[in-house]
Assembly symmetry: D2
Homo-oligomer: 361 residues x 4
């Protein structure tokens, strides 16, 4: 089997820059998803991927969908020198790991795109409270850019350290921001009722994520307080220009990929054309799709794609706005958004490697 994509695209693309990519902690679902997306990226090449536990194993031995794409790439023990020789390093690690390594890589002139939660919260103390350990690199927080391109595109262009938003936060913020920026919504009573596929829990062996535990069932979890709550709140605060009151209830849904955020906000003025507001807000965005009025976006319509689809409703003509916002948690909610950030960072067309259609059915 010969699917080496680079050969194929090189036939078409001569004389282009090739970004040298490193990935730290590539054995999880965001890792394999980075590899899948970068395999079809015409201007990026994965030079190194690390995993302590799997060092020596070829990536396609762990992930057979990659057979024919990375015939020589194997996991290696993390090493700052090797990673520092890359143009950019993605962290697809549990929280805490990027804290320890990011500084050294930045010092070596490497850009860092962190898919973990390590640099998402601006406030180190709040981070410590929600993640149960001290923040390991508070000195980097001031320059970390929250990588939501629809909000921070300009800052991303010149960033050295990017914190890729979480999956729930991406879906929730993209759905609520237009209302808050416009000053329409009552910011004190927002509700995000979110439903996630099981891949959001990662590839770790846990009973709760077993097929026979998570299948054919639905449940809420972490109603008391989920780590994505402060992250969403932080983003909404910026949009609202002040404090927000948010209730966030995540649910586990028996599907592999997908987040469906159902967002509730009260509006004082019911005369505003919400459809027009959303369409205008996202008019130039390549990866936000404001669907026609009355639509009900399905998570499968974004499966494998880097798109957020949104629909706005005001049921029964009342003052409660219902926004439906769907993403693939592993793509626009993680690895796809990370690649989008990389494209912006390196001055490429933002859509490179991300322009494929979602897989339906």
């Amino acid at each position: 089997m010969r699917l080496y994509h680079r050969q194929l695209s090189n036939g078409f693309c001569k004389g282009h820059v090739m970004i040298k990519v490193g990935i730290v902690g590539g054995t999880g679902y965001t890792g394999v998803e980075l590899l899948r997306l970068l395999a079809q990226h015409p201007q990026a090449e994965v030079a190194v991927i690390t995993s302590r536990s799997e060092a020596g194993l070829r990536v396609d031995e762990m992930y057979p969908n990659l057979r024919g794409h990375y015939p020589e790439l194997a996991f290696s023990v993390p090493d700052v020198a090797t990673l520092g020789a890359c143009d950019v390093v993605f962290f697809a690690t549990p929280h805490g790991v990027a804290h320890a390594l990011a500084g050294e890589l930045l010092a070596a002139g490497t850009r860092v795109i962190d898919l973990s939660a390590d640099f998402r919260l601006q406030d180190a103390e709040e981070w410590a409270k929600w993640y149960g350990q001290p923040h390991g690199a508070p000195e980097l927080l001031s320059e970390a850019v929250y990588g939501l391109p629809e909000v921070n595109r300009e800052a991303i262009k010149t960033a050295r350290l990017i914190a890729v938003p979480g999956c729930y936060p991406t879906a929730a913020q993209l759905g609520l921001i237009p209302l808050l920026e416009a000053g329409l919504a009552d910011a004190s009573s927002l509700i995000a009722d979110c439903k996630s596929g099981v891949s959001g829990a990662g590839r770790g062996a846990s009973v709760a994520s077993l097929f026979c535990e998570a299948g054919e069932s639905m449940k809420a979890y972490s109603v008391k307080g989920h780590r994505h709550l402060p992250e969403i709140r932080q983003g909404l605060r910026l949009a609202a220009g002040g404090e927000v009151g948010l209730t966030f209830v995540p649910h586990l849904t028996p599907m592999i990929r997908g987040i469906h955020a159902t967002l509730y906000a009260r509006v004082a003025d019911t005369s505003v054309d919400l459809q027009a507001l959303f369409e205008k807000r996202y008019a130039g965005e390549p990866f936000v799709d404001v669907m026609p009025a009355g639509s009900h976006p399905e998570t499968r319509s974004v499966r494998g794609g880097n798109v957020c689809r949104i629909a706005v409703h005001r049921p029964q003509g009342g003052d409660l706005v219902v926004v439906l916002s769907v993403i693939d948690n592993l793509v626009k909610g993680a690895s796809g958004q990370a690649v989008q950030n990389m494209n912006i960072l390196f001055g490429l067309d933002e859509r490179l490697g991300l322009s494929h259609a979602a897989l339906l059915p």
Copy 2:
């Protein structure tokens, strides 16, 4: 194979009344579920089951899980004389059918338990508005009893005509009623974000319910207005003793059975012990399970069982109460609740035929 349940239980249960049951329209999921539950009911016997389209077919030819339970029962053409000879007739039909037949059966002295929407709304005009056709039997509305035992047990005991609540309305009402009856919740801003398994859409051949359309995906639907909205509102109005403002957003979830209702209500007084309130409200109820504080009920914990499990949360100590309420839409949300009504109606132990544990995993 010899599983004829009656023989088995007759070995134990001598001298007991046997209720003669008729079922109209038994080819759908609520029909087969009635047959499954009644097969293990020691004091009920299905004498007749009708279906125009399948007349002549044995029930176990359509539903092989029933092989060994109803070796001689076949669908027959609906016939008032035969049905009128039953003690009770269940309607498991599309809306409109019970309108046409219920009156004649009542006149024959047969009790009617209607699983359809025909007699759920007290107001014939509202029914007509939501169901798109005139109400076919408005004269029966005044005596129709809404069959939610946790609210109407006394009225059910002497009813002739029972309207079994819908699936969403059962989960939503049981979760919100304690707050409204206690006058705690702001009745004007209630939200029911509900997630249903696909069996709620019935067994009709529709593209939207195909495995490849509904599988591995999540979506909201009917955000503009779902037929269960007026039914839930009517029940909540009674509990609140006045008008209520309710936003109801149903979602299609990739599982066969189950409803997960996530209910939001603002409370003025945050000092009330909600856990105690709910436990007290349902203390004597055989089929409502108020779970310990902090619980997250799973729909699979009620799969196949006639139970509603409820958990009450007040996240982050705020004034928004989140109630989680789960049922099996085909059991407590339809056929099981219908049998529970039958038990009450005929003076039996309410738990007869319904005391089995749910199927997990």
Copy 3:
């Protein structure tokens, strides 16, 4: 919630023997399934259930589907004295555990029904070869009875130690035995292509059983040799009265429960009425359902039920017989069959606690 089943059935069943049951290792799926089935058994009562890791935890805290059924039952540390006071002890343990304890319990006069593989193979050396450790109680092998009631009912009646067959072996043997007993099949070229739901892998936290690993995918496994191969071969050898050649290929299927065995056997004489042969073989069996000619049994038709449904085909009029045999791996393939053995052992109606219909859909 008050669902205590015993109260209910005691209302009907006075003066009956009550079997005192112990369960060792009840935290897995066969454990919870035993509890589910015994909750509706009118003549058995779970007195003790053990688990070292979960000692002190109430069973319904681990398995919320049991809430209302065992309000006082909690896991305890295994203790021979307590277990020895039971009439019968079920082992729902990994292999090796019953080896260590069975002897003492038998000495105490307690019957042992072992759901693990510990006593299934008559040959201790073959056991050691497939399970990678020495057999821990070879002295008990001569009296261990293989608990397939359709073959060994008489021996079961007087057994002290019963080895409940594995899930694949139950489906495969029930499908092939009629052909072999009749001397019709070429015993040297049998094939069992079997498909199992994921619950067959148990409740242990393993990556391979995660929702995102096992979902939306199909694969064969252990093609080189699966531990159920020698067990099936042993049973078929007895039926054939001589050596058999069997190829067994198990597959992991994205469903929770169910085994579908597709069995292939060559017949020399194509004139025999296979349908009649199978119907006659299983004529008196309560839990084997020979379906009408031309049927295709579905695993869901036995979900939660203790039934094996079988259909016999001879495609294109050739000499290759295709037998389709389905069971619920957790019921007829494990806990249900264990209860069936208990019923036989204690002289009860074999169907007690097992006569409910399967859950469909």
Copy 4:
């Protein structure tokens, strides 16, 4: 949202031929899959797509995953003049339709790639027997090329009319052909036990394909005789150079995409290195992946990809070879293979538009 892929790739690919594509009957799953794959094909452009029932509807109104890819493409009424102006027309239609139209299109100089069964069988009478109607274009059979590139690549290059193989036939033939071509297998006793995802049944509204009917269950179907049997037999006959005896048992599996073929063949000579044989046979093939010895390919490893992954086993050192062969039924089993044929036909790199990695998880 702006994802128009052509703009993107045109940035890279100047001066290349652009193939003008027509699609007849594009509303089903093979239709949307053609659109998904062609959206990322740098040298093909969908000019027209027809559907009588949906004429006027934009393709992305039916398939929201295509939003941003075909902003102006709508279904139109089939019209020979318009279709005849295309370089190639794909038929994604029920059987019979291509019979009626193919001749006219060929006369207009348009190449035809038929995804239906219309030209797969060389023998018009056998076609009539299995499809229950006379063959509508027997005069075209002699020039129809069976589009399995791994067998017919040379003939495809110069074909005017290509019959894309069925899904089961692709998986089964690729797995068995190496054994038959080498004269190793007993051609008289082949068995293909195949498991298909539900999308193989198409997007038609049928009860059997409902989520609640096909979900959480497994069953065989058409054991008596499936339409793909003669097609597989025809291909194997060519490989074997003589008659073959084949038993084919298809099964419905609760997943959306994927075919897992488990193939059984007896070999006389057990000394041959089967792994080497398979690797050599497919050494130059871009889309056949012979996995390392001992592998168990998963269908998800090819989800959305145009790959067939194969593993060869000889369990227990016996004379029965077990070949495991997996494809995505909608890609290598239909639309992907159709695009592969197009690439060959037009002298392009065979991998164009098909070089992306499969979606896992």
